[in-house]
């Protein structure tokens, strides 16, 4: 799998906010057909990286290529070929789930009938069809993630960029989403996701990158990354160098 041409090629990427580097010289390659997990502690630079990949934030320096096309020069062509599960603030709260999925389908160039038909099917697939008139504003966090993922699938993209797709999703929903994502990878799609849930990453991903304070501190296949560690959690803690024992406070 690693011999396949890269779906994502990042070279020396930097993003500076004020006097702080959120991403600091990140170099990374994700082969096509790979299920890639991008991990890091809070504030490590995961979301900033994925925002730059999605074209939502310009890089301060460095280069990004997605599916062989440079970002942001070919942003439009790239965006047509990728599926996004962005930060949930990018959802339109006063649309129903079905309306939102249809809207995204039409934005990706599907005709109205096709977009409507696929929206209905995706709502059923993601078990959101029971309350078709419910607004996204009334959805639970897990339902919001599911509707975002359903919308990301509507135009059958080759590359998925997902920011915390399993956050707040219940066990049944998570299992459903995992199966759908694995099916996409089996069909040749590439998935790049950030997650705090290490068990999910451990189970799904073939490759993992760990970012800490804007720098890539570990990268490789799941097996190589774990090395002598028993679990990914152990490898993760070792990689970011935070092996702090639980502390207690006098008054607690």
């Amino acid at each position: 799998m690693t011999d396949a041409p890269a779906a994502i090629e990042i070279r020396d990427l930097r993003k500076i906010y004020g006097d702080k580097a959120a991403v600091d010289g990140l170099t990374l390659s994700v082969p096509q057909g790979c299920f890639y997990g991008f991990l890091g502690p809070n504030g490590a630079g995961k979301t900033t990286t994925i925002k730059m990949l999605m074209g939502l934030a310009p890089a301060t320096s460095g280069s990004i290529e997605l599916l062989g096309l440079p970002m942001p020069e070919s942003a439009l062509e790239i965006k047509r070929q990728i599926g996004l599960v962005p930060d949930e603030s990018l959802l339109f709260d006063h649309l129903t789930g079905g309306e939102f999925i249809e809207f995204v389908g039409r934005i990706y160039g599907l005709d109205r009938m096709t977009a409507t038909a696929r929206a209905v099917e995706l709502l059923e697939l993601f078990e959101l069809g029971e309350a078709p008139r419910k607004l996204i504003a009334e959805y639970s966090k897990g339902m919001r993630k599911r509707v975002a993922m359903a919308a990301a699938l509507i135009h059958r993209p080759r590359l998925f960029l997902m920011d915390e797709p399993f956050e707040g999703v219940d066990a049944v929903g998570a299992r459903l989403m995992k199966e759908i994502l694995l099916e996409q990878v089996r069909h040749g799609a590439t998935i790049f996701l950030t997650s705090h849930v290490l068990e999910v990453v451990e189970r799904l991903c073939d490759r993992v990158g760990i970012i800490h304070e804007g720098k890539l501190v570990a990268e490789g296949t799941m097996q190589s990354l774990r090395g002598s560690a028993a679990t990914l959690e152990e490898a993760f803690v070792r990689a970011v160098g935070i092996d702090r024992a639980a502390e207690t406070l006098d008054w607690l």
Partner: protein
């Protein structure tokens, strides 16, 4: 085109989902009243322009009228801190939509910031088409002038929006904008000094290179080729500028612009003292809650913008009207300028402080229902915060007036503080109920968004006259008895009635909040559609 249709369809669904049943009816009523008024103005203009006998007056006044329309379209929405509907680029940037298509939709949406002027221009054009001496070119002149205004509005809005998002320069930019916006007012007030320049801009024989003179000439069928060339040139230049600004906004990184140095500063230290002051002087939990309000409000660009507008625009707009014109030395404005400016500031701040006081709290408002504090204390804390900032605003206005050596005496001071105090009490009484029953989340980072729904605006149409009536009675008493004591007597009675009303309304708002907590939190948590209004 399919993408443009999809965006407009999604916005229509957002609108329909957001205003079910009664809400849409209220919005329609408010729109009918407001735009009905402007339609009447348009009809009046139509009649004037259709009369061949009025040609001399039309020739003399048209360039100036078109210039005023330009200012109204470009500046008034910003004066009111509202710019009509606009694409929410933060949400649409993630999708494969060509920038040119987004720009086209954005230009069309600028109509919403100047519907009043479109109506008036339609009135002018229809009238002119019935006038044999104006009929030939007026339609083309209207189309070109509207297009020019739409395109300029996109560029200005984008430029100003980006500058106001930059952490260190937004206040400076705002002050420059205030000065620019107040320029026509100052020119009007000191017109004797600027007569040659004003003539050059708007008189019948004005410079032919400006878009308003060119449009005016084209309507009259004068210098047709030159006028068309000038209007097209201005429109193309505005298009290039606006497309450039729009592209920059599309690439704009809000977080990077808002990021500053992480180090502390002297000002930061002083502000920390200021924030902590309520907790020192007021009992818990009111002090703690007000401290939180101070921190949140002063960190919100929208609040800061409205607060700055209160005393800057207020002074720059009203003072020239009060003291700048030649004529009688005792006018209503110059006798009551402090009260007038204070009332203007109060009205500007009312959207944040009175009508939607939970707007910035958004989903965090649920904390108020979870914390071991009575909900009445939450409302009282928000009300005290509002009063503090309103009094601070009036004090700044007073200070500036003192520096400008304008006439200030005990009567003017007591009148301004008394009137604002009484009206604030009445508005807070209504505002607490509206804040609970019609809560709506507002993005504190957005300098322009107003956030008031149509039916809330309809209620405000009724509330403002009622709230101003007791104060009007005080002025009436002073006029009837020709005695300042009569004014203070009625105002004191108003204050007592206001306190009683506030107490009753507070209890009612608390009961409503406890009953409606779920829809209230849901409404505060909700986001927007692809087009923000």
């Amino acid at each position: 085109m399919e993408q443009a249709r999809a965006i407009l369809w999604a916005q229509w669904r957002t609108f329909a989902n957001f205003y079910p049943g009664r809400g849409i009816a209220w919005t329609t009523v408010v729109s009918l009243i407001w735009y009905g008024m402007w339609t009447a103005v348009a009809v009046a203009f139509g009649r004037v322009f259709s009369d061949p006998g009025d040609l001399y007056a039309i020739r003399a006044g048209l360039p100036g009228g078109l210039l005023l329309m330009f200012f109204y379209w470009q500046v008034v929405p910003l004066l009111l801190a509202a710019t009509g509907a606009a694409l929410d680029l933060r949400k649409l940037r993630a999708y494969p939509i060509p920038a040119s298509q987004l720009f086209f939709i954005e230009v069309m949406l600028r109509v919403t910031a100047g519907i009043e002027m479109v109506l008036v221009l339609i009135g002018v054009t229809v009238g002119a088409m019935f006038n044999p001496q104006l009929a030939k070119w007026s339609l083309l002149a209207l189309v070109l002038y509207v297009l020019f205004n739409l395109v300029v509005a996109v560029g200005l809005r984008d430029l100003l929006g980006r500058l106001l998002a930059r952490k260190r320069i937004r206040e400076l930019v705002f002050f420059l904008f205030v000065l620019a916006a107040a320029l026509p007012q100052l020119i009007m007030a000191r017109r004797g000094m600027f007569i040659p320049q004003v003539r050059l801009l708007v008189a019948g024989d004005a410079w032919r290179g400006s878009p308003w003179t060119a449009a005016s000439s084209l309507i009259q069928g004068k210098d047709v080729n030159l006028s068309i060339a000038v209007l097209v040139a201005w429109t193309v230049a505005a298009g290039i500028f606006s497309e450039w600004q729009f592209a920059r906004t599309l690439r704009f990184d809000l977080e990077a612009a808002a990021a500053g140095s992480s180090g502390g500063s002297v000002l930061g230290g002083l502000m920390e003292y200021f924030y902590r002051m309520p907790s020192v002087v007021l009992p818990h939990p009111v002090g703690t809650l007000i401290e939180k309000e101070f921190r949140c409000l002063l960190r919100s660009p929208r609040f800061r913008l409205v607060f700055l507008m209160g005393f800057t625009f207020g002074l720059l707009i009203w003072l020239p009207m009060a003291f700048g014109y030649p004529g009688p030395t005792r006018t209503f404005f110059n006798q009551n300028y402090l009260t007038v400016v204070s009332m203007y500031s109060l009205l500007l701040m009312s959207e944040i402080c009175f009508w939607n006081s939970f707007g910035f709290d958004r989903s965090a408002a649920q904390f108020y229902f979870l914390a071991p504090i009575p909900f009445s204390r939450v409302l009282v804390s928000k009300n005290l915060t509002a009063l503090f900032f309103i009094l601070l605003e009036i004090s700044i206005v007073t200070g500036v007036c003192w520096l400008l050596r304008l006439p200030l005496d005990a009567r003017r001071l007591s009148e301004a503080y008394g009137v604002v105090g009484v009206i604030s009490l009445l508005l807070l009484s209504a505002g607490n109920t509206l804040s609970v029953k019609q809560a709506r989340g507002v993005n504190p980072g957005n300098s322009f968004r107003t956030g008031a729904a149509g039916h809330v605006q309809a209620m405000l149409f009724a509330i403002y006259p009622v709230a101003f009536t007791p104060v009007a009675l005080a002025y009436l008493a002073r006029y009837a008895f020709d005695a300042q004591a009569a004014f203070y007597g009625v105002l004191a009675l108003d204050a007592v009635a206001g306190l009683v009303l506030y107490r009753i309304a507070l209890d009612s708002a608390v009961q409503s909040a406890l009953r409606l907590r779920e829809p209230m939190i849901a409404a505060l948590s909700a986001g927007d559609g692809p087009i923000a209004d």
